[in-house]
């Protein structure tokens, strides 16, 4: 029999956390800081409206673009929150999570051989999506000395004649870094000078603790060449609902919509109904969750620094990204031994690409009690290393 697996599927790497996943399933009493999702339940008003809509029989497809009420609501929300203006009829597509938004965005703009620059460390799917679209992922490392922001000089070094687009995500998973307006301006200059397109994944935009999030498309003249991706998962604790959205100028949006209609048809209807309600009535729920994350961050990051894992203060998302270099262990060794010896699950930074090695990602989307207990166990683990 032939080997039926395509070259592209063979080429994309397996998940870096698989091995940990298998290990943790054999263990009990594990505190997991390895989860990239909120620990809150979806606010009940959102659940309730979705349940009601099912009772009412709202269970068929929606239009390809998504419910009109949701797109209208988003258009208002984006303008109000970020000063982003997108026309709900032509420039917004409701996607099945940001994951799908990223996939159709990349496929809409990538030709074979195109180089797609990716600010790393980053969410694990960017590189594989580019590979599957026939493009060539080109990592642009964001390093600790820059507080994990994207450094324009590093970006400039990576740009070639084949460069087509840049993918960034701030607030960042896994580093928690954010980019201010002036940080983004320096990147915008390069993007515009080299006639690149920008894909900006802003799914953590609501989780900005120090300043209001600055959306890339509002900077300089980026809007005409930016695809903005966002979703409801993180802000409203709606990960399982799979509702994201893609916003872009009409021509780009039309191309992405063609792919979306063939591969997805539409995002889940019940999820879209829930998202309408999220925009309508869950502002306070969101604010109180964001506030709680901020308190936990302060508690946890101070704890990490105290026990000897240096960590900059992440200004967004819900991840701390301390360095483990001082321990003499690699990030993978650290994560594996910490899990085996003290039953605390963290994700090695190298899983997230260049710039991530030597760090671990700890999600502080767990209760304060668990964070304190995790810190206690980590301190014992580190104490043991020094013996």
């Amino acid at each position: 029999m032939r080997n039926f697996i395509s070259g592209r599927a063979t080429e994309i790497p397996p998940s870096g956390i698989r091995k940990f996943f298998d290990l943790v399933l054999t263990m009990e009493d594990v505190i997991s800081l390895g989860v990239g999702e909120p620990d809150f339940r979806t606010p009940w008003n959102i659940c309730e409206s979705s349940i009601y809509s099912i009772e009412q029989g709202t269970t068929s497809y929606t239009s390809n673009r998504g419910l009109q009420t949701l797109r209208d609501g988003l258009s208002r929300h984006l303008e109000h929150s970020y000063n982003l203006r997108y026309d709900s009829n032509n420039e917004i597509i409701i996607t099945t999570g940001v994951s799908e938004g990223l996939d159709i965005a990349v496929r809409a703009i990538t030709d074979p051989g195109d180089e797609i620059l990716i600010g790393q460390p980053c969410y694990v799917s960017y590189g594989p999506c580019v590979t599957l679209a026939g493009g060539m992922p080109v990592p642009v490392p964001c390093v600790e000395k820059d507080h994990f922001k994207l450094n324009p000089d590093t970006l400039a070094e990576k740009i070639t004649k084949k460069s087509k687009a840049l993918i960034i995500s701030f607030p960042n998973n896994p580093t928690g870094a954010v980019m201010t307006e002036s940080d983004l301006k320096a990147i915008a200059d390069l993007v515009i000078d080299h006639d690149l397109l920008l894909i900006s994944d802003e799914v953590y935009s609501e989780l900005s603790y120090e300043k209001r999030h600055c959306s890339a498309a509002t900077v300089s003249d980026l809007r005409e060449r930016t695809i903005t991706l966002n979703g409801f998962s993180k802000a409203y604790a709606m990960t399982g609902w799979r509702i994201g959205y893609l916003c872009a100028p009409k021509q780009i949006c039309d191309a992405a919509l063609k792919i979306h209609q063939y591969v997805m048809l539409c995002a889940p209807t019940m999820g879209q109904v829930g998202a309408v309600e999220a925009l309508r009535s869950a502002e306070e729920d969101k604010n109180s969750m964001v506030n709680e994350y901020r308190l936990r961050r302060n508690l946890f990051v101070a704890g990490l620094n105290r026990i000897g894992l240096p960590c900059h203060v992440p200004e967004g998302a819900f991840y701390a990204f301390p360095s483990v270099e001082k321990t003499g262990l690699s990030d993978v060794e650290f994560a594996e031994q910490l899990l085996k010896e003290q039953r605390v699950a963290v994700v090695p930074g190298s899983v997230f690409g260049e710039g991530g090695a030597g760090h671990i990602r700890c999600a502080y989307a767990v209760s304060r009690e668990k964070l304190n207990e995790a810190l206690r166990r980590m301190e014992i683990f580190i104490g043991g290393l020094k013996l």
Binding site: S15, I17, F20, F21, V24, L25, V30, S32, G34, V35, G36, E37, D39, R41, Y123, V124, S125, N173, N291, L295, R296, N298, L299, A302, G303, A345, V347, V351, F352, R368, N372
Partner: protein, 163 residues
Amino acid sequence: MDEKDLELLRILEENSRLSQEDIATMTNLTTGEVAARVQALEAARIIQGYSTVINWEKAGNDEVAAIIELKVSPERDFGYDRIAERLCRFRQVKTLRLITGTYDLQIIVTGKNMQDVSRFVSEHVAPMDRIRETATHIVMKTYKENGNAFFEQPEMERLPYSP
């Protein structure tokens, strides 16, 4: 009162038993500053006290609680204040509010049993001057109190790792 005070109040309202060290770390204050601010809030009677939310039914206590609505004729110059303060003095009155609608005051009363509560209402509350009418509702079960749900919710199941 500033933003930090409000933040402290929100934290304490949710859980007043956190250590001052943790509160200080969470709010970027020193332990000393937290202690001083809390003391000032107590002195200003903004913090009225600290108590524990207890599911008494689970503790096997068969005390009875009742919500009693009162129609009251307000007093010239004092409105409802004097009668409300009089009612507040009773140990049995746990909560008292002035409300809009058909009734004027709402009190929550506890007692050893139904007779205890009804005796209190008929002997002490109803005969008071200016109270024109009472409506007593016995609490049958408490599902949620001060933001705390009394029924068990299963732990949320999340994958141990997700990117």
